[in-house]
């Protein structure tokens, strides 16, 4: 099997989608899939699929296709960290609750170890056994515990200041749901997750259908 040496950033972004689809196929008892079928399911061309998988040495066999299990495991191994990544959630509103209560995150290797909120109303309450703490407690918490990722679920422009604080406290990964747009630097990796972007695209598509 041939391995390509580099994988593009766009291909990495597609991997969670492939992975989810391969998991669904496996649940349905499907063991082999062609690049053509995958391309149809994922919404890219067959040659794009073959190109994406070339990196994993996963060449589909002619007339048989890719081994679903093998490919699924390779993608998982590629994406997943060797260790569980520790995550804190900033903002104990509904979205913060939704992330803290999402069991899939732990299965995928992310563990919520603390929840922080700027408002006192939540202090001392718990979500799934994790205490909600005041923001004042954050510097000490980060000093004592290893925090890999801060999920920012505060949906106001004030999130900007909070993100700056996180970076200066040494948090290396930010999962940002706030309307503020933040970019990677040499100190921090950012993923911006603006929920209503996809809704705006849906609205456009409905208008122009």
């Amino acid at each position: 099997m041939e391995y390509r040496n580099e994988i593009s950033y766009a291909a990495i972004r597609r991997l969670p989608k492939y992975y989810r689809h391969l998991c669904n196929l496996r649940k349905a008892g499907i063991r082999q899939i062609s690049s053509k079928e995958l391309s149809f399911e994922i919404g890219v061309t067959s040659s794009q699929v073959r190109n994406d998988f070339a990196y994993f040495g996963g060449e589909g066999l002619p007339g048989i296709g890719y081994n679903v299990d093998l490919l699924k495991n390779k993608i998982n191994e590629f994406l997943k960290s060797d260790n569980t990544l520790n995550m804190i959630i900033i903002g104990a509103g509904y979205l913060g609750h939704a992330l803290a209560a999402n069991k899939n995150l732990e299965k995928k290797g992310f563990k919520v170890i603390g929840i922080f909120d700027p408002y006192d109303q939540f202090t001392g309450r718990e979500i799934k056994g994790i205490e909600i703490m005041k923001m004042d407690c954050l510097p000490l918490f980060i000093k004592r515990q290893h925090v890999d990722i801060a999920a920012i679920t505060i949906l106001s422009a004030h999130a900007d200041e909070i993100i700056k604080d996180m970076i200066s406290l040494g948090v290396k990964g930010i999962w940002n749901f706030s309307p503020v747009e933040v970019k990677n630097t040499d100190k921090v990796m950012i993923e911006n997750s603006h929920l209503d972007d996809s809704l705006m695209v849906l609205g456009y598509n409905l208008k122009n259908k």
Copy 2:
């Protein structure tokens, strides 16, 4: 000013990002921006920016750049529906609550008109004045009210059945947060919003930093 006749799907996907950034610039009192500055902020090339905006007839003036207000309004006009789009939320868990409570959605032209949950525990309760109803009420509700979009916030594989029901009830737009992957058909437009995809990419980036 010259207008291009077609805009690519990839460009449409970038428009909410441009829009958010132009709004931030406006708030900061910045009136003009060059394609180079925008490209840096958005993370695409300058020529990509110019290409994206060619469709709007928005050519930046040499040495001055784009008019922030004008461009912002054009993008808004392009994306936004003429009428408010009516949305129902399926699933009254934390994520359903988060969407119902998000004031930005109404500002962007989407109005939540009903919330439905398969479990009785929530029935009769309200989120922001909107009653939570049983799923049994859905067919009659859709018959009587105009529903443009159903936001699926049920994070289990059962969402598959619910999405099929929505489509057969005539809902034209699905904003899908469930782990099920759904595709556009001639009957329905879908936006899949898988929150943990971006977290997996962040995990990968932290591992390989």
